[in-house]
């Protein structure tokens, strides 16, 4: 599929929206493991405009991180993309060679990983780690390097950056390490930032400060951001749009406010009702029944939520359903919403 077709399948094409910075269409990915083929992503279509913040939410195992890794071409060796396209700024990400990908990783597309401590090199000063990125991607040399690295630290509001430049990761707090990772990711001013649970394991106060920082930097530089999180309330607070994933499907995409207040997919509604933030009492919380289906099952139903769904009909298990647009920006993968 060429980039043109992607624009056509985007419901916003009619509204004369420019081509997205990142356009993913019908992406399917499976893991070929010894215990069988795991269908980790199926028919995932998402797009991201310049400067936009898209939240990807779902339970663990829903495929959020698999999706992010696929975008960067850093999937596990057992992963195989079986269908679909992904175009970033005119470049075919899935057909690109490792060499081409290496040129855009860190420069055009950056990623902030979970667990800041394990993503940093423990035996290298953080300042030097930032210099490594600058040397590789921004062709900065000599004296300027140190200055630029300290500048990067300053930009993520690390107090006393010249001193922290000399620090090893173990000398810094978790929140501080996360800031270093953000500094690393933003060192070359990427146009797309993928943040995979950037605040998991951090305190709420630190979480809020880190999210404020990401959003501010995103706005300042018109950087598109893909925020992967299991925290729907957080995604709704900081993102423009939200994509809800369940068992490898994107079940709902829409503006953050619409998804939160008028969810159309039964899973989204359950996800909202099960989070403590919306509930007035413990009794009012509604757990999501059942668990994710076994993605190895040779015959997964077209709707992978059907076994957990209170509105299940025969059709859900027999008839394949694409994402149904509710309006220009909101689409849902559910027969009930389609009716």
């Amino acid at each position: 599929m060429s980039p043109e077709t992607i624009i056509h399948t985007d419901p916003r094409a009619a509204a004369n929206v420019p081509p997205p910075l990142l356009g993913v269409d019908g992406l399917s990915l499976e893991f070929r493991t010894r215990s069988g083929v795991v269908r980790a992503l199926e028919d995932v279509s998402l797009s991201l405009q310049k400067g936009e913040l898209l939240g990807v939410v779902g339970e663990s195992g829903s495929g959020k991180s698999v999706f992010a890794y696929a975008m960067l071409g850093i999937s596990d060796a057992a992963a195989k993309i079986t269908r679909g396209t992904a175009v970033f700024d005119g470049m075919d990400l899935l057909g690109a060679t490792e060499r081409e990908l290496r040129e855009i990783r860190g420069r055009e597309v950056s990623m902030i990983f979970q667990s800041p401590r394990t993503s940093l090199n423990p035996i290298r000063k953080v300042g030097h780690q930032i210099e490594d990125v600058l040397r590789r991607h921004a062709a900065v040399r000599g004296q300027d390097l140190r200055e630029r690295a300290i500048d990067c630290l300053k930009r993520v509001r690390i107090p006393d950056p010249a001193r922290r430049y000399e620090a090893y990761p173990f000398e810094l707090s978790g929140g501080m390490c996360q800031r270093i990772l953000i500094a690393l990711a933003l060192a070359c001013q990427p146009s797309l930032l993928i943040a995979d649970e950037p605040t998991t394991g951090l305190d709420v106060t630190t979480q809020a400060a880190i999210m404020d920082l990401i959003v501010e930097l995103a706005h300042e530089r018109q950087m598109a951001t893909l925020l992967i999180t299991h925290d729907l309330a957080m995604a709704a607070q900081y993102c423009d749009r939200i994509a809800v994933m369940h068992a490898g499907h994107v079940v709902e995409v829409g503006s953050a406010q619409v998804v939160l207040h008028q969810p159309q997919h039964p899973y989204t509604a359950r996800l909202i009702a099960s989070t403590p933030h919306t509930a007035d009492s413990i009794a009012a919380m509604q757990p999501i029944p059942g668990s994710l289906p076994d993605l190895r099952a040779a015959r997964l139903p077209p709707c992978r939520y059907s076994a957990r769904c209170e509105y299940r009909t025969e059709r859900c298990d027999t008839e394949a359903l694409p994402a149904v647009p509710i309006d220009a920006t909101h689409s849902v993968r559910c027969w009930r919403a389609a009716a």
Binding site: E59, G174, T275, P287
Partner: protein, 323 residues
């Protein structure tokens, strides 16, 4: 609900102190002069950021560590006087039990769910009769919603939610009066978290057991707890009815904490954040408020006089010049 007399505290924490020697003339004040009560059947939330001493405090209360000062009055005995090493075999070991943060790390991988729960009955209750043990383990499993046929499984054969249930059943086995829950839902997915919280609320109502609920998920504390204790760098900065503290926090730190709870309605709004890093807990200035330096309201006097908690409303105490 079993209506225990809430006027006589079950546990009275009095000027409790836990200092660690970290070098010559260097003392880390993990828990510094903390006092609060837990009434029978009451749920108290303990919140604060990592490093504030909440885990150390809960370990001292559970008698897994010895305090360096203060008293722990449990009903009519001072538990602080019993060294932790001996307390492990004390007859009262069973009255305070703990549910640990990560069920993966806290369950013996070579014990089945049955063994884990039965061990607690043998060691802490002194139960010997196999049939009696079996009946009690099955009763406990039913209470926590763990299907009896899963009792023969090992931890790696159980899901995260099921492991959490085993951890809760194990802690409940010796019929504790106080259950310390250290982030019991932090490792669980949202879908499972709701069921475990509902289970905890139901067990509390059925058994009348008091909870000390350590968490940094403030929404969970708001829903599950009657009262909340807010810690900052070894000190309690605010304590009061949970609903009131979350609706109208009085201490600037609590305000920053509450403002940091993810809230879709706060979209685009700039909230007051606690800027910067906490002070060092090593040899803290005994006169200065620990929050000074990060506090948006800090004034010179905050560095000169450290206030004790004072009552600002019934059962609501705050340690701040501006409360």
């Amino acid at each position: 609900m079993n209506a225990p007399d809430r006027n006589i505290p079950l546990l009275r924490v009095q000027r409790l102190q836990k200092h660690f020697k970290v070098g010559r003339n260097a003392m880390l004040h993990a828990v510094d002069d903390i006092s609060f009560d837990i009434a029978p059947g009451e749920s108290v939330g303990l919140v604060g950021e990592s490093g504030c001493g909440k885990s150390t405090l809960s370990r001292v209360i559970a008698r897994l560590a010895d305090p360096t000062g203060g008293a722990l009055q449990f009903e009519d005995v001072d538990l602080a006087a019993h060294p932790a090493a001996k307390f492990a075999r004390d007859a009262r070991r069973g009255v305070i039990q703990m549910v640990f943060q990560d069920a993966n790390d806290s369950l013996n991988p070579r014990y089945t769910a049955f063994d884990t729960i039965a061990e607690s009955l043998r060691l802490l209750v002194g139960m010997k009769d196999a049939a009696q043990i079996k009946a009690r383990v099955e009763e406990l499993a039913t209470w926590v919603g763990l299907p009896v046929d899963l009792l023969s499984r090992y931890p790696h054969q159980l899901s995260g939610g099921q492991k959490a249930r085993v951890g809760i059943a194990r802690a409940l086995a010796p019929s504790p009066r106080l259950l310390i829950l250290d982030e019991p839902t932090a490792a669980l997915d949202v879908s499972v978290q709701a069921t475990v919280l509902q289970l905890l609320a139901e067990l509390r109502d059925r058994l009348g057991v008091a909870y000390l609920f350590v968490s940094h998920d403030l929404n969970v504390v708001r829903l599950l707890c009657d009262r909340v204790v807010v810690m900052y760098l070894g000190k309690v900065v605010e304590e009061g009815p949970a609903a009131e503290v979350f609706r109208a926090p009085r201490h600037p730190y609590t305000q920053a904490l509450v403002a940091a709870i993810p809230d879709p309605d706060a979209r685009g709004r700039k909230s007051a954040r606690a800027e910067g890093e906490p002070r060092s807990p090593i040899n803290p200035d005994p006169r200065a408020c620990r929050f000074h330096g990060r506090c948006p309201r800090g004034e010179p006097k905050c560095e000169l006089t450290l206030l004790d908690l004072k009552e600002v409303a019934p059962a609501h105490r705050v340690a701040c010049h501006f409360a």
